[in-house]
Amino acid sequence: MRVNGVQRAATDDTRRLLSDHLRHDLGLTGTHVGCEHGVCGCCTVLLDGAPIRSCLMLAVQAEGHDVTTIEGLSRDGTALHPVQQAFHECHALQCGFCTPGFVMSVVGLLAQHPDPSPVEIEEGIAGNLCRCTGYASIRRAVHRAVELSTQGERMTGRQ
C-alpha cells in the first residue's frame, strides 16, 4: 500500500487492524486509537482521499490503496496544512489525542465541500469525539480553514 505517498510493505498478519499496522508496524503513531469500534474517530485516516476509520479496516484490505495519515499532510519542518494551521489559530486542540482524527475528517470534508455551509460543517465534524474542547473552537477552526484554503488558492492562482 502507499502510505503518505510512499510504498510501504504489507503485513502478512491478516487480522492486524490497519490502525495497529500504521502505528506499530510503520511507526506512524500520529493516528490514535480511542475505541476500536468506529465511534470516536481518533483513528480516522484518508483512504484514496476519503476519511475512514482505520480501526475498522484490516491492514490487508488497504493493499493497493492510498492511505494518508496526519503525518502526510505536511512534510517535517514545512508549513502546516491550512486545516492544521486553522486548528492552531483557533485553539482547537488541548490534549491533542482526538486532533489527528479531526484534522483528517476536516480535510476530507473540505475535499468534498470546499465551501461548506454551516449544516455541512456540522455534519462534517459530527462523527468525531472530543472530550477537552467542547467543540466550539473546532467549529471556528473549520471556518478558519476554509478562509485559509481560499486564500492559499488565490495566492497560487488556482481555481
Binding site: T29, G96, F97, C132, T133, Y135
Partner: protein, 775 residues
C-alpha cells in the same frame, strides 16, 4: 517584571508537534516492548475458587502469566492514599485478586505476550472458577446492608462524618417554613479520549527503572515504585509524556498495571507495555458521582436560608484508595456562595460492588451544587418567589471575605473563602442570558457555585537561563491538555523579560523535576504557576546581581527587557542574559560559547572568592510554592432550553457562563477549559450514564451505548469573566480546570423543570427518564 504575557491570549507552544502527529502518548512508545492484557472478573462479587493459567502460558507468543500467587507483593494491599481519622474501615484491593473479587472489572491475572492480539487470545484461556456471591449495587442497597461487600465492615460503612455549624435543630424548629428534599446523583465516567497506558524498561546494568505512564502524578508513582521495588528514588524515572486527557481518574494510583508493568519489565528483562482498550476502561478505571441526599431546609418568608441539614450517602465503590476526599468536598461545598446560618451535614461513605470511586472533574462539587440549587428552586416554588431573587437574597456579599464556613476542607484545614463577588456573577449572567425566547416548552435554569481550588501541599519549579540565552523550566506536575507549557512560559517570560517562544517547559518528568504532588483539583496555576514565578524571580534577581557587578550599576537600577539586563533609563548600557548565564559559572577552561568571558583573567575582578558563601554556579533557581489554604473560584451559569413535548429531546437554546478564577493568565486557555467543562457537564446531565444491572455488570461498556456528546449535541457557549484576585498568592490566581462542569447538572435540572413542570430530583436525565416522570 513586565506583564506583557500574563493575561495575554498567547497561542499554544504545544500545538505544532500535536498537529503534525508527532505527539508522544504512552502507547506510541515501542522499542520492542512486550504487550499485555488483564483477565478481569465478570462478576461484581465472587469468591475465586481456582485460577488455572497453564493453557495460557503454553500458548506460543506468551511470555508470562501472573496471578497473585506469582507476585512477591501478591498478598499486599495497595496503598490507602489519603488516610483520615473518620475513615475507620478503609479497604484497598490487591494488585491481582486471588480470594475475592468485589467489582466487575477487578483484575485477576496479567498476561504478557509478544503482542496484544496474542495476549487477548491467551487471556481467554485463563480459567478462573468463580463462586458468585450476592451483590450490593446501589448506595441505598449498601445502606440496607442485606449483604456485605467486605465481611469485616459492618453495615458497608467505610466512614461516617458529622459536622455542624450553628444549631440546626433549633433553627429548623423555629423556621417559618420547612421543606424536605431527596436528591439522587448517579455514577458517571470521565472517559478521556486516551485510555490508560504504562510502558516500562529496566536497565539491569544501571539498576534503573524507566516508566512512561498516562498519569496525573508521576512523582507519586515514582515514590511508590521506589518503595515497592526497594530502589533508591534516584534510580526510578517516571514520565507522563503527552497524556490524552485526564479529568481525574488518572490521579488515582496505583492501578494494578502501574506495578505489574514495571515488575514484568524487571523480571523479563525486556520493555513491557500495557495499553487498555475502551471496553475495559469502563470498569477498570475509577468512576464518580454516586450520591443520595436527604435535605431538610428551614427558611423565612423572604426565602432566606435559616438552617440546612443534609444527610447523604456516598457511593464509594468496592474499595477506598482515595479515602473520603470526595464526600468531604461535597459536604464542604454544598453551601456554595450562599449564607446559611446553621448548617449540618452528615455523610456515610458506602461500599458497593462497583468500580471504586475517586475524583472526576468537579470531584464532589457537582452534587453539592445540584443539591443546593434544587433546594433554592424548591424554596422559590414554595413561596412563589422569583428563583433569581431568592438566590440574590442569600448570596454572601463582597464585604464578607474572608468568609469562614466552619467545615472541614480536603487539605486538612477548614473552609475559608478568600475573595469573590457573587452578586456580580449572578447579575451579569442574567444580563447576558437576556430575555426568554418565544415559544412553548422553554425553560430557564440558573446556578451559582463556589469551587475550592489550588490545594497544597506544594509544587516546585526549576528555571534556568542557558548560555545560549534560551530559558528552560520544569515542574513536577504533568499536563493533560491544559497548555501548561504555554502558561508557565508566560509567567517565566514576564519575570525574565524574554519571549514566550524562548521558554521551553518540561512538566511531569521526574528526570527533570523530581518533587511535587500532581495535577488535580484545579491547582496547577496556583501551585506550579506560583512556583514558576518564585523560581523565575530568583533567577531574575541573580541576573541583576551578576549584571550589577559587570555593569558597575546598582542592582535596583537594572531591569530585564528583551532578553537583556539593562540600566533603567539607559537602555544601551546592558548585557544579554546569555552573557549573564556565562558569567554565572566562573570557569577555568573556556569551552566555547562565550565562556572565555568567565575565565580568571577576563572576568571583572571583585573581592572574595569567585563563588561567595551561599552562591551557586549557573543562572538557575529552584523555587517552591506551598499554599496557606485553598483559593476559591466561583461562577454562575444560566441557560434557556426547550424540551420537545413529544420526544422529550433537549435543545439548549442559550448557555451563558460568568466566571471568576482570579487573575487570568491566558484567556484562550481559560475559554477552552470552560467550553470543555460545560460540554462534559452536558454529557453527564443528559446523555451519559453508567447502566449497571442488578448483577452489577455494566451493560453499556462501549461508546455505542455510553453516549458521549458529539459536536451536534453541544451548543455555543457565551463566556464572560470577572476577576477577584486571590489575596493568598502573589499571582492572584485561583484555578479554573473544573469550573465548566460543576453547575451544569443543576442548571439543566432547573431549566428542564421550568420547561416541563416535571419535578427533577435526580441526575442524569434522558428523554426516557423525562417520559417516565411525566406519566
Amino acid at each position: 517584571m513586565s506583564t506583557r504575557w500574563f493575561g495575554a491570549p498567547v497561542q499554544r507552544v504545544e500545538d505544532d508537534r500535536l498537529l503534525r502527529g508527532h505527539g508522544r502518548f504512552t502507547d506510541d512508545f515501542g522499542d520492542g516492548a512486550l504487550e499485555c492484557c488483564f483477565v478481569r472478573s465478570p462478576y461484581a462479587h465472587a469468591r475465586i475458587r481456582s485460577i488455572d493459567a497453564s493453557a495460557a502460558r503454553a500458548m506460543p507468543g506468551v511470555i508470562a502469566v501472573y496471578t497473585a500467587a506469582d507476585l512477591p507483593f501478591g498478598g499486599v494491599d495497595l496503598p490507602l492514599l489519603i488516610p483520615h481519622p473518620n475513615l475507620t474501615h478503609g479497604r484497598t484491593q490487591r494488585c491481582l485478586a486471588s480470594d475475592r473479587v468485589r467489582y466487575s472489572g477487578e483484575a485477576v491475572a496479567f498476561v504478557v505476550a509478544e503482542s496484544r492480539y496474542v495476549a487477548e487470545d491467551a487471556a481467554e484461556l485463563v480459567e478462573v472458577e468463580y463462586e458468585p456471591l450476592p451483590v450490593v449495587i446501589t448506595p441505598e442497597a449498601a445502606l440496607r446492608a442485606e449483604h456485605l461487600v467486605h465481611d469485616d465492615v459492618p453495615g458497608n460503612v467505610a466512614a461516617e462524618m458529622l459536622q455542624e455549624v450553628g444549631d440546626v435543630e433549633n433553627a429548623l424548629q423555629e423556621a417559618p417554613h420547612r421543606k424536605r428534599l431527596k436528591l439522587r446523583y448517579e455514577r458517571a465516567a470521565a472517559s478521556p479520549m486516551e485510555g490508560r497506558a504504562v510502558w516500562a524498561r529496566w536497565t539491569a546494568g544501571d539498576r534503573k527503572l524507566t516508566v512512561y505512564d498516562s498519569t496525573q502524578s508521576p512523582t507519586s508513582i515514582r515514590g511508590g515504585l521506589a518503595v515497592l521495588f526497594g530502589l533508591p528514588e534516584s534510580n526510578v524515572e517516571v514520565i507522563a509524556p503527552d497524556v490524552g486527557g485526564g479529568f481525574g481518574p488518572k490521579i488515582m494510583l496505583f492501578y494494578p498495571d502501574e506495578l505489574l508493568v514495571p515488575y514484568a519489565a524487571i523480571q523479563l528483562g525486556r520493555p513491557v507495555k500495557w495499553t487498555e482498550d475502551r471496553q475495559e476502561h469502563f470498569t477498570a478505571v475509577n468512576q464518580e458521582r454516586g450520591q443520595v441526599h436527604e435535605v431538610e431546609v428551614g427558611f423565612d418568608t423572604e426565602g432566606r436560608l435559616l438552617a440546612l441539614s443534609d444527610d447523604f450517602i456516598h457511593d464509594g465503590g468496592a474499595y477506598t484508595p482515595y479515602g473520603i476526599i470526595l464526600p468531604i468536598i461535597t459536604a464542604a461545598q454544598l453551601p456554595g456562595p450562599y449564607r446559611i446560618p446553621s448548617y449540618r451535614v452528615r455523610f456515610r461513605d458506602m461500599y458497593t460492588n462497583a468500580t471504586p470511586t475517586s475524583p472526576y472533574r468537579g470531584a464532589g462539587r457537582p452534587h453539592a451544587c445540584f443539591v443546593m440549587e434544587r433546594t433554592l428552586d424548591a424554596i422559590a416554588a414554595e413561596l412563589r418567589l422569583d428563583r433569581i431573587e431568592v438566590r440574590r437574597r442569600n448570596l454572601i456579599q463582597s464585604g464578607d471575605f474572608p468568609y469562614y464556613l466552619g467545615v472541614a476542607w480536603q487539605d486538612g484545614n477548614t473552609v475559608v473563602y478568600d475573595s469573590g463577588d457573587y452578586p456580580t456573577l449572578l447579575a451579569r449572567a442574567i444580563s447576558k442570558l437576556g430575555p426568554r425566547p418565544a415559544g412553548d416548552h422553554v425553560g430557564m435554569g440558573i446556578a451559582v457555585y463556589v469551587e475550592g481550588t489550588g490545594v497544597g501541599p506544594y509544587e516546585g519549579a526549576h528555571v534556568q537561563v542557558l548560555v545560549s540565552g534560551k530559558v528552560v523550566a520544569a515542574t513536577g506536575i504533568p499536563n493533560q491538555g491544559q497548555a501548561h507549557a504555554t502558561v508557565w512560559a508566560q509567567i517565566v517570560a514576564d519575570e525574565l523579560g524574554v519571549d514566550v517562544s524562548d521558554v521551553e517547559v518540561t512538566s511531569g518528568d521526574t528526570r527533570r523535576f523530581p518533587w511535587g504532588v500532581g495535577t488535580f483539583a484545579s491547582r496547577g496555576a496556583v501551585t506550579a504557576g506560583n512556583a514558576m514565578h518564585v523560581a523565575a524571580r530568583m533567577v531574575a534577581d541573580k541576573a541583576r546581581h551578576i549584571a550589577a557587578d559587570h555593569l558597575e550599576a546598582a542592582v535596583e537600577d537594572l531591569e530585564l527587557v528583551g532578553g537583556r539586563v539593562r540600566v533603567k533609563g539607559s537602555p544601551d548600557r546592558g548585557i544579554p542574559l546569555s552573557a549573564v548565564a556565562v558569567l554565572s559559572n566562573p570557569v577555568r577552561y573556556a569551552f566555547g560559547g562565550g565562556t572565555e568571558a568567565a575565565t580568571q583573567f577576563t572576568a571583572k575582578p571583585r573581592e572574595g572568592p569567585p563563588l561567595r558563601d551561599g552562591e551557586q554556579p549557573g543562572l538557575e533557581a529552584t523555587g517552591y510554592y506551598s499554599p496557606p489554604g485553598s483559593t476559591w473560584a466561583s461562577g454562575c451559569h444560566a441557560a434557556y432550553v426547550r424540551v420537545d413535548p413529544n420526544t422529550f429531546r433537549l435543545e439548549i437554546l442559550k448557555y451563558v457562563v460568568v466566571h471568576d478564577c482570579g487573575r487570568v493568565i491566558n484567556p484562550l486557555v481559560l475559554q477552552g477549559q470552560i467550553e470543555g467543562g460545560v460540554a462534559q457537564g452536558i454529557g453527564g446531565a443528559f446523555y451519559e450514564r453508567l447502566a449497571y444491572d442488578a448483577d452489577g455488570q455494566l451493560r453499556n461498556a462501549s461508546f455505542m451505548e455510553f453516549l458521549m456528546p458529539y459536536a451536534t449535541e453541544i451548543p455555543a457557549i457565551d463566556i464572560d469573566h470577572i476577576e477577584t484576585p486571590s489575596p493568598l498568592n502573589p499571582l492572584g490566581v485561583k484555578g479554573a480546570g473544573e469550573a465548566g462542569v460543576i453547575p451544569v447538572g443543576a442548571v439543566l435540572a432547573s431549566a428542564i423543570e421550568d420547561a416541563t413542570g416535571i419535578a427533577i430530583t435526580e441526575m442524569p436525565l434522558s428523554p426516557l427518564k423525562l417520559f417516565e416522570l411525566s406519566r
